[in-house]
């Protein structure tokens, strides 16, 4: 039982009661009545909030539901994120922000629930967004305060370290938070720090891994397909033409390499505990591999490598990945 201080007196006559968010409901701007607490974040004018520190907490007042609720978050990285990052480091306005991913860990009601690898801000002025869904039970929302915590894991796998922007939470935008009654089975989700096509996310050989948030219930199957170009696009330009023969050789080598590899090993590291394990997968007839994650694992980092039939790992491989049965983006 959380200790209660008998003499606590936080209220003043000037505190304004704010209408809580209902379910369904959403908070999309900084002046949303439901947004009652910001730590390490500033209210947005056109979005909900921007993170300004490497640990942040948002508190939303919600009407306590009777049934589980899905909390949908949209995280955005844009040019303003880069501006804030520059200012936080006293850099010039035109200083180049390293094109690295931003890694965020998300807690709900004090419990780590998810992690997300965010793309760098697009150079064309558009935004990079990532969606995340966390399911909350009614009893978790005891008093009606939904707390969303954001921080950066202290330790990340060495293969990811160089790909992540230092102090990367600065400037990340929490664009909106919406609440929906939980109706469907919640599947797992993953993020690679790169834009995807429909359900598939690209996992380039560098950094070679991604982040998975397993489903809260039931097994989460992450499907991996080695990226092989069966047909190269027509080269355009002199440089592309000059490089074409070498590129074809490389693709051919990749196709040969993939055909020779019938097993894959995926390093799975818990974002919360750092516990590591290796998951061996045999190639399925369609050439994909499956990594099974249990619901209790929590968010994990995953890095797949092909295993040579002759022994050893092949690291020079791009992948596509998706969660089997995942909700489409």
């Amino acid at each position: 039982m959380t200790y209660q201080l008998a003499s606590l007196d936080l209220a003043t006559d000037f505190d304004r009661p704010l209408a809580p968010l209902t379910v369904p409901g959403k908070a999309v701007k900084g002046d949303s009545a439901g947004l009652v607490l910001l730590d390490g974040a500033a209210r947005g004018a056109y979005r909900l909030a921007r993170l300004v520190r490497q640990e942040a907490l948002l508190g939303l007042s919600v009407t306590r539901p009777d049934l589980p609720v899905d909390v949908h978050l949209v995280l955005v990285v844009d040019a303003f994120s880069d501006d804030m990052w520059r200012r936080s480091r006293d850099l010039e306005e035109d200083a180049v922000v390293p094109r690295r991913h931003r890694l965020a860990r998300v807690s709900v009601q004090g419990r780590q629930r998810a992690a997300v690898l965010l793309e760098p801000a697009p150079l064309d002025g558009s935004v990079a967004s990532q969606r995340l869904t966390v399911r909350v039970r009614p009893e978790e929302l005891g008093s009606g305060l939904l707390t969303l915590g954001f921080d950066v894991p202290r330790e990340v796998p060495s293969w990811l370290g160089g790909a992540v922007l230092e102090d990367g939470l600065t400037g990340v935008c929490i664009a909106r938070v919406s609440l929906e009654p939980a109706t469907e089975t919640l599947t797992g989700s993953l993020s690679t720090g790169f834009a995807g096509s429909k359900r598939r996310r690209l996992v380039p050989r560098y950094p070679g891994g991604f982040v998975v948030n397993p489903a809260p219930a039931g097994r989460t199957d992450v499907v991996l397909r080695p990226r092989v170009l069966e047909q190269r696009p027509r080269p355009v330009g002199r440089r592309a033409l000059a490089r074409e023969p070498l590129a074809r050789v490389r693709d051919g080598a990749a196709r040969v390499r993939v055909r020779r590899h019938v097993r894959a090993v995926t390093e799975v590291v818990s974002v919360t505990s750092g516990r590591r394990r290796q998951v061996l997968s045999d190639a399925r007839p369609d050439g994909t591999f499956v990594v099974a994650l249990e619901p209790g694992e929590g968010p994990v980092y995953a890095r797949p490598r092909l295993l040579r039939t002759s022994g050893g790992e092949s690291r020079m491989q791009d992948w596509y990945c998706w969660v089997d049965g995942s909700v489409s983006d």
């Binding site: 201080l5 008998a6 003043t12 006559d13 000037f14 910001l38 390490g40």
Partner: protein, 562 residues
Amino acid sequence: MPDHPGRELTNFRSFCDIASGFWDTNVRRDPSRVILVEAMSQDLRVTLRNLSVANALRRIEPAELVVFGGADDDWNEVVWSYFDLDEIEQLCRAYGARHFFDVHRVVDDRVAGRRFSLDVAGIDLGGPLPDSVLDPLRFEQIVDATSCRMAKVARLDGGPEHTRRRARDLARSTEFARVYDALLSELDVVAVVSSHVDYNNFGLAVEAAVRHDVPVLFPQSTGGLKVYGLYPERQRPGSPVRAGLTEELGQFFEHHVWEHRDLLRRSADLTTYRSKAMLGRPSWWRPGRSFSSVELRGPDDRADVRKVAAARTGLDPDKPVVTVFNHAVSDALGTNVEAFPDLGAWFEATAEIARDRDDVNWLFLDHPSQSLYDATAFFAQVAARHTDRPHLVFMRSMDLSKNSLISLTDLVLTVRGSVSNEYPALGIPAIQTGWSEWSACGFTTVADSPDDYAKLLDDHITGLHDGDRMVTPEQVERARLWTWFYRAGSDVPSGLVQPWQLGQGDSLIDLLSVQMLHVESDADPLFSSLHRMWTRRDPVATRVDLAAPTERLAVDLGVVTR
């Protein structure tokens, strides 16, 4: 004009002309009397306040201004980063200083035995000056405090480096004391105006003033205009200069603030509400509105955020949390009554007590500015001695948001920190082991010895376990009234001073210029508040006459009526 962080003054010269003309017609002079004014801070706002107070006093007590300014190598290395003596002297001359001298240079020349002649109001400060008659023990305390500050240590260790430093500070202190004694004994001094009362350069002037029955006006570096008065007849014999102020403020608060609590209740609540939102905070409070606001609405929010904060810090949310707020360990040692020999001793003793009390959580927080005051990693050293006690958690205070701190803290421990007036206003008890401006106002517990402290701590922890109210509703009300008194009742808004938050750049200079050129000076609150304070010997300048009957006070404050 050299560049300084935040101070690139475009119109400083023209402002000085304007100020000179303004003050020329707004003060009265008497060449036989002087007001001694300190100008030894790099921040123009500090000197501006000192000069404005001195000139306001000249409207009552005609006098000339004698300004002592400057800084030495130690101050420039340890404390200041952009001290500009020329600029400060220009400001002082514009405000009518008849004499301006670099007291640090005088002291250094005297210590070095260099011959010089410097006539200040008829006194040759380069000539032989009698020894000071300051109490030797008090003198040694001031020397020690200065050495600790310059060395950035909690206490001197007697080693070669500290011994050398102390010898240098002793020599300087001896000359400071001689110079100040000479000025105060040979001149007809109306008052000393000083922004600080600590260390050898500031403190010895204040001590000399008190010894010569000369009042000290003590402007504060925050808010609009806040001025304390230290009156020789009100000093506690044998106690530091701030002790008498503590007692007087307690009485003043009782008679003029608590007495009007019904009238002031709404205002006190509004100030507390604004304080939670980081509005109107004192200049030294932790900054960062995104991180330092109190947004918890009540016990339910507190419980929810407490769980999150406890998970982060490794504390047990089901047990009471005692939060120990470390001080900047070399900051102004020995300037008020304290139960422990120094700030570091209190912190170390508290950690020792905590070792055997695992029935509660202990959260030890560093001071946000400790790097400016400590070169020994004092906090980390203490933490390293207690790694075998998991119920003691040592953290950087700026790693925790104010919401987290309020959600976790069930008892505040400090010597004299402002957390001991901030937290009781929210119903969280505080134990102080030293006196402060508010410690006699009835909303904190003050220990008068280490044994008393240990007992009070034990009693409070027992009370927390038993679910007792360790802060009464009256104490919460007193703490909120103190917040109002500090930020409003004793904060004088004057166009001739401007709010501290305005900074010390062009905005300040331009607003002052406009005020002086285009606003008639009659009834400026700087003048009326100083007049009231001086003639009544009040311990603090007030925004309005707090001794007025309730009906008139309501009018003067413009209170909201139903």
